[in-house]
């Protein structure tokens, strides 16, 4: 048959399984022999707060005037056992991020921004820095498996203690801080040789399981005179049972971190394939608290992918007492800012996608220990940006709460919500928009 140059051709067809991105990763793995390490949380699309909408007031509901009527945002954390619960002006806290992962300037900026906004910030693996303590009106001290920098003096300086069992980016995994970021100061604070690739243990060295944790919490309370709220933070995996066991162990506050929650560095395969989405864990955790008669007595903080006042409002409506932000706070400080695009390009990335935080070469001066890069971040200016951002989130949250007729953001409830997808409907246990039904509904068809 004669060749016909005008015959239609089959277009090149990419595989949906072997996408260009997948193929590139296979080639990278084959060339280097090492898994991909990166920072941040899950980047894949998962059901999230965007899949929910507020119903707003209508014939049967009475809204509050959007700009003037009072809508409170304060929250008290640690009311169960602590003599000195934490009182915050807004229900948005700053999540734990270590000095080591972040520069001292970035930690200071987080403290400044949080304090201006009337909320708390949190230490991380590596201990408490004077900059952070000095600039943080309310500081939560993380008690981690590595115990780097842990000491009773700093413990007593803290306003609350967060026992970290896991985090959303890597439930069941430990931490890592590669040698590039182990500066003299970081090494000294962690009692490690300079420049090594540091591993943080994935489980605590002196307790295993909730029965032990109960005794560990007793010890921490005894050391700090029963003054400070004790949080227990878990990565979202089995939120109903984890919450139940944390309460049984004596937690004042339970923190659940979904898979979109970030890390300074871990394997991409861990970040993307372990843990469950933030949206999927709130109702489970709330159910556990309700079954124990502890909802609102033990407070629930939810984190992982919180970006806006809408996310805050939805998390509260599903039963959380507060939320926590990490990645969003970094972006507010200046992380991934397009003004550094030329430098991101040189690092083989682009603004908005840069996640090689473990390499310590962050052009924005945030996830680095390089003094020259770190100096790019002005802690005062960056703290102001964070405060502005927290203010906007709070105003947005209030706007939505008023539209639902609530004079306190904590009065938002699941009944105020509808879901746009079946997945979100099932996870959040709110009806699919336009129906009275959600999958798994008691007495429902499924």
């Amino acid at each position: 048959m004669a060749k016909d140059d005008h015959a239609p051709r089959t277009l090149p067809k990419y595989s949906s399984t072997f996408t260009p991105e997948v193929n590139a990763e296979i080639r990278r793995a084959a060339a280097t022999g090492i898994y991909d390490i990166r920072g941040g949380g899950a980047k894949r699309r998962v059901p999230h707060f965007d899949d929910l909408v507020f119903l707003g007031a209508s014939m049967s509901r009475y809204p509050l005037e959007g700009y003037r009527e009072r809508c409170d945002t304060n929250v008290v954390l640690g009311t169960r056992f602590a003599k000195k619960p934490i009182e915050l002006k807004i229900p948005i806290t700053i999540a734990g991020m270590s000095f080591g992962a972040l520069s001292a300037q970035a930690k200071e900026a987080l403290g400044r921004g949080a304090s201006l906004a009337g909320t708390s910030t949190t230490t991380g693996d590596g201990g408490m820095t004077p900059e952070e303590r000095g600039q943080s009106k309310t500081l939560v001290y993380q008690y981690l498996p590595s115990r780097y920098g842990m000491n009773p003096v700093d413990l007593r300086k803290a306003d609350a203690i967060e026992v970290v069992v896991g985090q959303g980016a890597k439930p069941g995994g430990g931490g890592m801080l590669l040698g590039q970021k182990i500066s003299d100061r970081v090494a000294e604070m962690r009692t490690l040789p300079k420049g090594i690739d540091q591993r943080s243990a994935c489980r605590h060295p002196d307790w295993t399981g909730p029965d032990d944790l109960e005794i560990k919490i007793l010890e921490l309370r005894e050391i700090t005179g029963w003054e400070k709220p004790i949080y227990v933070k878990v990565g979202a995996a089995r939120p109903y049972f984890d919450t139940t066991l944390a309460v049984k162990a004596g937690a004042d506050v339970v923190v659940i971190d979904g898979m979109q929650g970030g890390t300074a560095a871990t394997q991409d395969v861990f970040i993307e394939h372990v843990g469950i989405p933030t949206l999927a864990c709130i109702r489970e955790a709330v159910q556990a608290l309700q079954d124990l008669g502890m909802h609102r007595e033990v407070q629930l903080i939810v984190s992982g992918g919180i970006r806006s006042g809408a996310d805050v409002a939805k998390a509260l409506a599903l039963g959380a007492d507060a939320v926590s932000i990490g990645t969003a706070a970094m972006i507010a400080l200046g992380d991934n800012d397009p003004k550094w695009e030329d430098e991101y390009q040189k690092l083989g990335s682009t603004a908005g996608a840069y996640d090689d935080w473990h390499e310590g070469r962050d052009p924005a001066g945030i996830s680095t220990q390089n003094p020259e890069l770190a100096q790019r971040l002005d802690p005062v200016e960056a703290g102001r940006r964070l405060n502005n951002y927290l203010k906007v989130m709070t105003l947005e949250c209030q706007t939505l709460a008023r539209a639902c007729g609530k004079n306190h953001v904590q009065h938002l409830e699941p009944e105020d919500l509808a879901a746009l997808t079946l997945e979100a409907s099932a996870m959040a246990r709110v009806p699919l928009a336009g129906t009275k039904w959600y999958p798994g509904m008691p007495g429902g068809a499924f």
Partner: protein
Amino acid sequence: MQTFDLSADGLRALNAALQAQAQQTNETAWEVVNPRGSHAIAVGLDAPIEVTVKGSTGYYCAGMNQQATVHVKGSVGPGVAENMMSGTVIVEGDASQYAGATGHGGLLVIKGNASSRCGISMKGIDIVVQGNVGHMSAFMAQKGNLVVCGDAGDALGDSIYEARLFVRGSVKSLGADCIEKEMRPEHIEILTDLLDRAGIDARPEEFRRYGSARQLYNFDIDNAY
């Protein structure tokens, strides 16, 4: 001597009283009776006082100790002297798991045996065990000295950093990246001092030294499995 009956007065009152002792206190000698295996006895102390516990304790006895000397006339549960910063803790009997875990300083002496994970993640503490230690002892040990006058169990010093391990008896197995090292004169000197401070009669020359091969300090694909 202040005597405190734990069964009558309770843990909170005991720890509050001990933690309230000032640097220059004249009430330096304390005795705790009827401990009955209670947890978190004498934790968070920060004064140069001497506390004698007459009996056995539960978890975390003398946790996060600073300056104080805590002497347990019995055995201790898990995590004795965990995260100790300074001072001295002496256990006449045996110790359960994680003795001296993550300790930054001070001296922990165990006259009996210590169970598994003795000295786990130690960060500068000195630990002297007159008897044996269990498996995974000195796991991820960062700094300080662990002296074992008896035998050590499996996987001693797994993933160890810069801590020094001295064992007089046998070592069932060494953990990843832990190797036997030369016992040089400075090590004999360190060991002599530790044994002396622990009040243990043993000849330093009979011990072997173990430490990090430093092969896991930086990622290497050939060490990945």
